[in-house]
């Protein structure tokens, strides 16, 4: 493997891990995020690069499910951008209007980018991942219980 092959792969692996992190941070509730920050504390001083704010995104669908896009309707989104004292910049975009949760998530995103803290952040997030997985599992199994097998009957003579 050459060096030029290796760098994009490592970058994309890291990017994938961060995407996974941000997906969990988007779904963690405000109390969970606060508890994680507590557990990781003390948090280095934080500078707000962008004041946490709420706005909208236009959600799109696709014609027929897979075709040309169309505008389906909007959703509320909160976002924040922070820099921690060690220099890492963290972002958050999440559905809903909870700007405090968005800011907490952006701080966690910044902490995670510090290689020394990444393990601790992931460990603190494990219960949230477990809760989300359990909820999804519950939906799957409840829904699976309603699976039907329709059968057709031949009526009358041919």
């Amino acid at each position: 493997m050459t060096l030029t092959d290796k760098i994009p792969n490592e970058t994309s692996a890291l990017e994938g891990a961060r995407q996974s992190l941000m997906a969990v941070l988007a779904r963690a509730d405000r109390d969970e995020l606060a508890a994680i920050l507590d557990r990781l504390g003390p948090v280095p001083p934080v500078t707000d690069l962008r004041q946490p704010e709420t706005g909208l995104v236009m959600l799109r669908g696709r014609t027929g499910g897979e075709g040309a896009p169309f505008n389906l309707g909007e959703a509320t989104v909160s976002r924040a951008a922070v820099r921690i004292a060690s220099g890492e910049v963290g972002f958050c975009y999440r559905l809903g209007r909870d700007v405090h949760a968005a800011r907490a998530a952006a701080i966690l995103d910044a902490l995670w980018q510090d290689g020394q803290r990444r393990g601790a952040v992931e460990a603190a997030l494990a219960p949230v991942r477990a809760r989300l997985a359990a909820e999804e599992g519950q939906v799957r199994s409840e829904t699976a219980a309603t699976k039907v097998d329709f059968f057709t009957l031949v009526r009358g003579e041919d």
Partner: protein, 370 residues
């Protein structure tokens, strides 16, 4: 000419105070919470999100409470709220094939990969009022039912649930969806609409259109006004991930999940010199669990495609300008309900005119009699 009416401030203030009192109801009963509305009147909240065109369950629950359960008023409140926020951008289109499915049925195939899942549905209920829901007890019938649902849970691994239309598409038996050319879809909330419009504009308009109106128009197509012989290829409802490409990040992130209902209508086929016979389709996609709306949308969407498919026009549901110009219940209620506001000066003018015409008429009659 528009002439303003002034005054009435005190009466208006008192009327609004009385409205607040009536909304609250009897104070010996607890005020209903937003969590209760969002958790127990879910389908009302879903409708407000869909037609308010804003996904936020908490806000929709608040709107339902503030509107005393008047859903069109609640939708109006949501539409007004959305104008107060900046827009950060548009998401990557939702991928309904990757849905965490809570319900999925097909009327065209009984055996399909991933199976048919009834989920929480009113279908096959007997539509008998359940009086036990009105009885206050420590452990009500509802709670018993909840534990029954828990007991029947089956261990289940994630299974692939391809869309039925994708299965038909693989064999070439159904028309393909219009291709994603990378062009930005038209946005009716940002620019005035001028007819005729493209398919994505129709879909956006229908997605926020009034459920009752679309139901009636969809029904009319079944009764023979632009008949298209529809089958429900598939209805699915569940959670989809919202992916957004934030400019400062340079990659797509998940914003969380939303619930949507999708309806794939499979309709009558026609061939031509260029195209072999194949099924055609109508599409419905709506926020929340709004199955009736998604089906109606798909029927109307299909009817509006008459020109492209070389069909005969003439039915109400095919009239694009008529259908799309009247499907927004906030616009409709605004114009209809404004009639009850003061029109005193206009009416005085008309009264005066009628009096003059009558006087002239009388004079003419008299003249004729002489």
């Amino acid at each position: 000419m528009y002439v303003a009416a002034k005054g009435g401030e005190k009466a208006i203030r008192h009327a609004h105070a009385l409205l607040a009192k009536r909304r609250r109801g009897k104070t010996n009963l607890p005020s209903i919470t937003l969590q209760q509305i969002a958790g127990q009147l879910t389908l009302a909240v879903d409708r407000v999100m869909a037609e308010g065109s804003l996904y936020d369950t908490e806000l929709a629950a608040l709107a339902v409470k503030q509107a005393r359960g008047d859903l069109i008023e609640a939708i109006f409140l949501i539409r007004a709220f959305r104008t107060t926020l900046p827009r950060f951008g548009a998401t990557i289109p939702l991928d309904t094939a990757q849905m965490l499915v809570r319900r999925r049925v097909s009327a065209t195939y009984k055996d399909l990969p991933g199976g048919q899942l009834l989920g929480p549905t009113f279908d096959y209920t007997h539509r008998l009022l359940d009086t036990s829901l009105g009885v206050e007890r420590e452990c009500s019938e509802v709670d018993d039912q909840a534990s029954a649902a828990d007991a029947s849970r089956l261990p289940s691994e994630p299974v692939a649930m391809p869309r039925v239309t994708d299965l038909l598409g693989q064999e070439g038996l159904i028309e393909a969806s219009p291709e994603d050319t990378g062009e930005e879809p038209f946005d009716i909330t940002r620019a005035p609409v001028s007819f005729p419009v493209d398919r994505s504009t129709r879909l956006q308009t229908l997605a926020r259109g009034d459920e009752g109106y679309l139901l009636a128009l969809g029904y009319s197509t079944q009764r023979g006004y632009a008949r298209s012989h529809p089958f429900v290829g598939e209805i699915r409802f569940g959670d989809v991930e919202v992916m957004f490409e934030a400019p400062e990040l340079g990659f797509a992130v998940s914003l969380g999940r939303v619930q949507v209902t999708e309806c794939q209508m499979v309709n009558q086929f026609k061939g031509s010199a260029e195209v072999p016979p194949q099924f055609t389709r109508g599409y419905g996609l709506v926020f929340g669990q709004c199955e009736r709306k998604a089906m109606s949308m798909a029927l109307v969407e299909r009817a509006l495609r008459w020109k492209e498919l070389g069909e005969e026009p003439g039915a109400p549901a095919q009239d694009e300008e008529f259908v799309l110009s009247h499907c927004d219940n906030v616009q409709a209620t605004g114009f209809v309900e404004h009639l009850k506001l003061p029109h005193y000066v206009d009416f005085q003018a008309e009264l005066d005119l009628v009096r003059r015409m009558r006087a002239e008429h009388e004079a003419q009659m008299k003249e004729a009699a002489e």
